[in-house]
């Protein structure tokens, strides 16, 4: 609170000084990224193969399965948080692992939340690949794996969108990370399980809407940067 500085200029539209310690903000950003990126990476590893498998094969009940996956996109995050809390709580089946109020528990809940949108959007992208591409790959003597790789390459924009949607859901979500993570920051101002969203919630709870808005701007900026990076990588893929 040293009077207007560079931060005030940068945050001019919000009309507030940057009200936090740099270490505090850095640590909550890194917790946010750690949890969301790992959760989305894990759910991508699971979702894309599932999407390809379902998208390229025909079986009874495919329509039902697709509906179930699509329904998963609407999972209320608070319910997922409660379910994961039940799992990791000392009384729950994973209680012995001592996961409650840790980043790992948060990764678990964000994984559950991110997987349905990543799977559903990837599935739509895979299904949208022209049938002729598959047939051509097959005709050229490709195995099922080769065909799948060709299809994924064709569907890469859709898959990238899926990953971004999953990331967006994970990083902007507040209900479940608050329940399973506990919004913990040390007395030294270093976050342990506090994310940008739970920090915003904390500020809002205390009626400090101005500082909450500053953190909100940081969060939006972060999502923007991640999106730009992914789009950039996608663009390079087209060139090469």
């Amino acid at each position: 609170m040293m009077g207007p500085g560079l931060d005030t200029v940068l945050l001019g539209p919000l009309l507030v000084e940057f009200p936090f310690e740099a270490t505090y903000v850095r640590s909550i950003i890194s917790v946010s990224l750690y949890v969301s990126l790992i959760a989305v990476a894990l759910s991508t590893l699971v979702s894309v193969p599932v999407a390809v498998l379902v998208g390229l094969s025909d079986f009874r009940g495919k329509g039902v399965l697709t509906s179930v996956i699509n329904t998963g996109m609407g999972f209320p995050s608070v319910v997922v948080g409660l379910a994961v809390l039940f799992l990791v709580s000392n009384q729950g089946p994973l209680g012995a692992l001592d996961l409650v109020f840790t980043k790992e528990a948060m990764v678990l809940s964000q994984f559950v939340l991110a997987t349905p949108p990543v799977t559903a959007i990837s599935l739509a992208a895979v299904t949208g690949v022209d049938r002729g591409v598959r047939d051509a790959a097959h005709a050229l003597g490709g195995t099922r794996v080769d065909t799948a790789l060709v299809v994924v390459k064709q569907a890469r924009y859709g898959v990238a969108t899926a990953v971004l949607a999953g990331f967006g859901r994970a990083i902007s979500e507040v209900g479940s990370v608050l329940i399973v993570g506990g919004n913990i920051a040390g007395a030294d101002g270093v976050s342990k399980t506090r994310t940008l969203t739970t920090a915003i919630q904390l500020e809002a709870r205390q009626g400090r809407y101005g500082t909450a808005m500053v953190l909100g701007a940081v969060l939006v900026g972060l999502v923007l940067v991640v999106n730009a990076v992914v789009v950039r990588l996608g663009g390079r893929g087209v060139g090469g």
Binding site: N90, Q91, V100, F101, G182, A187, A204, G207
Partner: protein
């Protein structure tokens, strides 16, 4: 083949060394020669209320304790009801809350042990300066609540099973009026948000003094009924207690560290931190753990009279 055997020998040698080191280390600590207590490196999980964490008090209290024992305190701010519920599941080691009736229930269920009085502040009834129910300066919180109900003036309730909500319901139960109807609004929000809502709707609410003081500049609310710190009725007292989770019920809890923490909080050092802690130039909490006078009351449930036994 030769190389593999050499590696195996090296591994075996390292294992023996590690084993020996383990033995000597064990005998060392057996002599009591370690300069750190056995809890070093461990983590204590504290569930507590939003008011202790939001005011910044815990950030002052914890560093000396963490340094003293070489441990980390994870403070989870949840509100009294949720804090006790988390402890009930064995997911926290120690609880610091402010609702004696809920604390007693927790103790009666056998889930808590060694409850100690820690500190207190008080509640105040706040409302718009125009004071449509005419409660300003009343010396009874129950009468003030009854007047608000009679005037059907807007009253914003926490509605979240927090310590403040528990106190509010206790006052309604003692008063002649029933909360309910259009004018009574349960929000399920934290204290800060409730103050904002009350301010915007021109309503009354019950607030802990600390949160009101820290937010006074942002809301159009004034104190209409004072708590005991400023000479108001004792019904508005807001005592905080601390309890360890019973290790006989949840063997996963860190009982030793929880007891060390309670010992620290009730020590002269921590009680000094509490009495010196200020926000906006005002003392927020008043230490209550230390007294030369015997205080039987803190060991028995609320409402039990120790004077009968004397």
């Amino acid at each position: 083949m030769e190389i593999q055997r050499r590696e195996f020998l090296a591994a075996a040698g390292a294992g023996t060394l590690a084993g020996l080191a383990g033995c000597s280390g064990g005998s060392g600590s057996g002599d009591g020669g370690g300069d750190r207590p056995g809890v070093a490196g461990e983590t204590l999980t504290l569930t507590t209320t939003t008011s202790t964490d939001d005011t910044g008090l815990l950030d002052e209290l914890h560093p000396p304790f963490e340094g003293m024992y070489g441990v980390t305190v994870d403070a989870v701010a949840q509100g009294t009801g949720a804090a006790l519920e988390t402890a009930r599941a064995g997911d926290s080691d120690v609880v610091m809350v402010h609702a004696r009736s809920l604390e007693d229930e927790f103790m009666r269920e056998g889930l808590g042990v060694n409850r100690r009085d820690l500190m207190f502040n008080d509640f105040v009834v706040v409302g718009p300066e125009s004071d449509p129910a005419g409660i300003e300066g009343m010396s009874s919180a129950t009468a003030a609540f009854a007047a608000i109900a009679n005037a059907s003036a807007p009253f914003v309730s926490r509605g979240d099973n927090s310590g403040t909500h528990t106190k509010e319901l206790a006052i309604w139960a003692q008063s002649s009026a029933e909360p309910g109807g259009d004018w009574y609004r349960e929000t399920g929000q934290g204290m800060g948000q409730v103050l904002n809502i009350a301010s915007e709707q021109g309503g009354y609410t019950l607030s802990d003094r600390g949160t009101y003081l820290s937010q006074r500049g942002e809301v159009d609310l004034v104190i209409l009924v004072q708590g005991p710190i400023e000479g108001g009725p004792d019904t508005l007292a807001n005592p905080y207690g601390v309890m360890a989770v019973n290790p006989a019920v949840h063997d996963s809890v860190n009982y030793d560290l929880a007891m060390a923490y309670i010992g620290y909080l009730t020590s002269p050092q921590a009680q000094d931190v509490i009495s010196n802690y200020e926000a906006n130039g005002k003392q927020l909490f008043f230490p209550r753990a230390l007294s030369e006078d015997p205080d039987f009351q803190q060991y028995v449930p609320e409402g039990w009279s120790s004077s009968e036994g004397r």
